[in-house]
């Protein structure tokens, strides 16, 4: 019976094929990026000399920087997939379907969409491998064979992605199972506990402490391990504090709002601070990277001026690594904003249509939607940059962070990150116009 209902639910509904295409696309991009990152890092593990170990350690840092937001984006894609069917599953629950049946439907659907997307992602990765192989490290290309992952990994990743999606679906639909009416009518405004902030501050302080004692670490491997832990933990903690801060700011904005667009935007953010965070969470990573990369470039500038030919090569390679990491993060941001925005519009299609009938200009709806993204984005970008600056402070000293070259890179990366979100919003305006006039 469950299989039969799952098949019926899988057929395109009023939202058309987009309801399934969006999560599939998101999972596809997540998989392709994940494989590209792991494939690139794999090439470093073929080196066995002393300097190779240094490259491997640097690759670990890059992996931590990329994998944390990538997993977060993967989770967002999984929740998106589940949310696409929330209403219909809640209706089934109201009709008397058992919690187990609803959970099973959610798991089946999310896992199948994720698996289809993941397989497409593997194909994209395989297409990118020759280009990836052209990237030069230590004076020579990595080569396609160097970055091509073994086939068991290529088979295992889609299964892993599907399992993650299934798990996320179960967690995301707990509320449907507990209270079907709650989901259908959106009764409760979400609450976020202040304990998040206490934990967050604690972890940042710990990361700061790690950076402060870095110089007395016994070996390079220990130093790099500490670096990876500090960066990874700080990034993860941004996910904890971010929604709380966004909610706090949105509450103030809602009470002060003077125009319909500002009021709608603030209330939209308050409806789901976690959702607002997820849309722009990729920028937290970009911001974090901006400070990291900005400081890094400044440090490298000093090193490059003093070092021999081998050091110069290392400096060039680290610059390349930073650039690749930043580009990767931009791709994640673009994916996150585009998919989330299009899905959000499709979800609220009926409401947008009714607002159009009431005479609300599409420009007002668009302004509200843009503000609901850009306001949390500003908080996210600044907050993440400040967090990274605090963590980096003991390592490089305030002089480097405020060095002109460092500041330029930080400003440039932040501007590019915010610009790409803006473009993502612009790209989805036609979807809004179609929804309003449907």
């Amino acid at each position: 019976m469950i299989a039969r209902v799952a098949w019926l639910l899988a057929r395109p509904g009023t939202a058309g094929a987009a309801a399934s295409a969006l999560p599939v696309t998101a999972f596809g991009i997540v998989t392709a990026l994940l494989l590209t990152v792991i494939g690139g890092a794999q090439a470093f593990w073929t080196w066995t000399d002393d300097e190779g170990v240094l490259y491997q350690a640097l690759a670990v840092i890059a992996l931590v920087l990329l994998v944390v937001p990538l997993v977060s984006l993967g989770g967002a894609a999984a929740r998106l997939s589940a949310r696409r069917r929330d209403d219909r599953l809640a209706t089934l629950r109201l009709l008397g379907a058992t919690p187990a049946a609803v959970s099973a439907l959610a798991v089946i659907e999310s896992a199948v969409l994720a698996a289809v997307g993941a397989v497409a992602g593997v194909v994209v990765y395989l297409a990118v491998v020759p280009l990836l192989g052209l990237i030069e490290f230590r004076g020579e290309p990595l080569s396609a064979s160097g970055v091509l992952l073994p086939w068991p990994v290529l088979v295992a990743v889609p299964f892993g992605i599907a399992a993650l999606a299934a798990l996320s679906a179960v967690l995301g639909l707990r509320q449907v199972v507990i209270s079907p009416l709650g989901v259908r009518t959106r009764q409760e405004a979400p609450r976020l506990h202040w304990v998040r902030v206490v934990i967050g501050v604690g972890v940042v302080a710990l990361a700061f402490g790690l950076m402060a004692v870095l110089r007395v670490a016994p070996t390079t491997m220990v130093i790099l391990g500490m670096l990876a832990v500090a960066f990874g933990a700080s990034l993860a903690v941004l996910n904890l504090i971010g929604p709380w801060v966004i909610r706090l700011v949105a509450r103030g904005q809602a009470s002060r709002a003077k125009t319909p667009a500002r009021l709608l935007a603030a209330r939209t953010v308050l409806e789901s601070p976690k959702g607002a965070w997820r849309q722009v969470g990729g920028v937290a990573m970009t911001s974090f990277m901006a400070v990291f990369a900005g400081t890094g470039v400044a440090v490298l500038g000093v090193m490059g001026a003093e070092g021999d030919a081998e050091s110069q090569l290392l400096v060039t390679d680290i610059r390349t690594g930073i650039l690749i990491t930043v580009v990767g993060s931009f791709l994640m941001v673009a994916c996150s904003v585009g998919v989330n925005q299009a899905a959000g519009i499709l979800d609220r299609g009926e409401l947008y249509r009714s607002l159009d009938m009431l005479g609300m200009p599409v420009a007002t709806m668009d302004a509200a939607r843009r503000r609901a993204v850009m306001s949390p984005l500003r908080i996210t970008a600044i907050g993440s940059a400040v967090t990274a600056a605090i963590v980096m402070l003991p390592l490089t000293g305030i002089t480097l962070i405020v060095a002109p070259e460092s500041l330029l890179v930080i400003a440039g990366v932040l501007a590019a990150g915010i610009g790409i979100v803006w473009l993502g919003l612009l790209a989805t305006r036609p979807v809004l116009e179609r929804a309003a006039s449907a």
Partner: protein
């Protein structure tokens, strides 16, 4: 005899090969309540949308007469029709279609804020309308915290708060039980025709239609009958 507020002539509208309206003539007097009845697919909602300037007919004209004179709704561009709907008309839909993130009073005030009224004044007006419709004390509740009937009253307040001279309602009691439906209809009529305004509603419920002053029956995109309620 009162004057006409809406005058439609020769309205036709097709969606692909489906003819939703096939030459409809209809005039609505100021202060009357008109029910448009018919089976699903008879064209009643399309007619309502054409009269309200939501949909432009393929042929025919719709005129709106107010104190400022007569406006040819069908001759207006998208932006002007949108402005007309915002300033002169009110709407109540079957599901209310209120904004779930906003509170009851914010939903009502939004209609005034769209016309440029400052928020504090708009919310004050909104509270007044909610109180008049029996929702005093519920102004700061979110829509999900209201019952179906209460949410429909919020929708009625939103439709009325701008001083709309014509309120269009599409199955306003379609999702309610009979007792709540009677309450909502009473609130809708009191706040429209009770105050000299015009109500045009679409329904397939004979009991609801019977509370209006005039009923037109539609079939296959045409008006096939007209009755005056007792």
């Amino acid at each position: 005899m009162s004057s006409f507020v809406i005058e439609a002539a020769g309205l036709s509208r097709s969606f692909g090969s489906t003819r939703a309206l096939a030459g409809v003539d209809l005039s609505v007097r100021t202060g009357e309540s008109l029910a448009i009845m018919g089976a699903s697919g008879s064209g009643k909602t399309t007619l309502l949308h054409c009269l309200a300037g939501i949909t432009r007919p393929d042929a025919g004209t719709v005129g709106f007469v107010s104190g400022a004179g007569r406006v040819e709704v069908t001759g207006l561009g998208e932006r002007e029709r949108s402005r007309l709907r915002r300033e002169a008309f009110g709407f109540v839909f079957q599901q209310g279609l209120l904004i779930p993130e906003l509170t009851a009073v914010e939903n009502v005030a939004l209609a005034l804020m769209l016309n440029g009224m400052p928020r504090a004044r708009a919310e004050e007006h909104g509270r007044g309308w909610l109180a008049a419709l029996g929702l005093a004390g519920m102004e700061d509740r979110r829509i999900g915290q209201l019952s179906g009937g209460q949410a429909q009253r919020v929708a009625i307040a939103r439709a009325q708060v701008t001083g709309a001279s014509v309120v269009f309602a599409d199955e306003p009691t379609g999702a309610l039980d009979s007792a709540t439906s009677a309450d909502v209809m009473r609130a809708l009529l009191d706040s429209t025709t009770g105050q000299g305004r015009t109500l045009i509603l679409v329904t397939h419920d004979a009991e609801v239609a019977g509370r209006c002053s005039r009923i037109v029956d539609m079939r296959d995109g045409r008006i096939v009958g007209e009755r005056v309620s007792a």
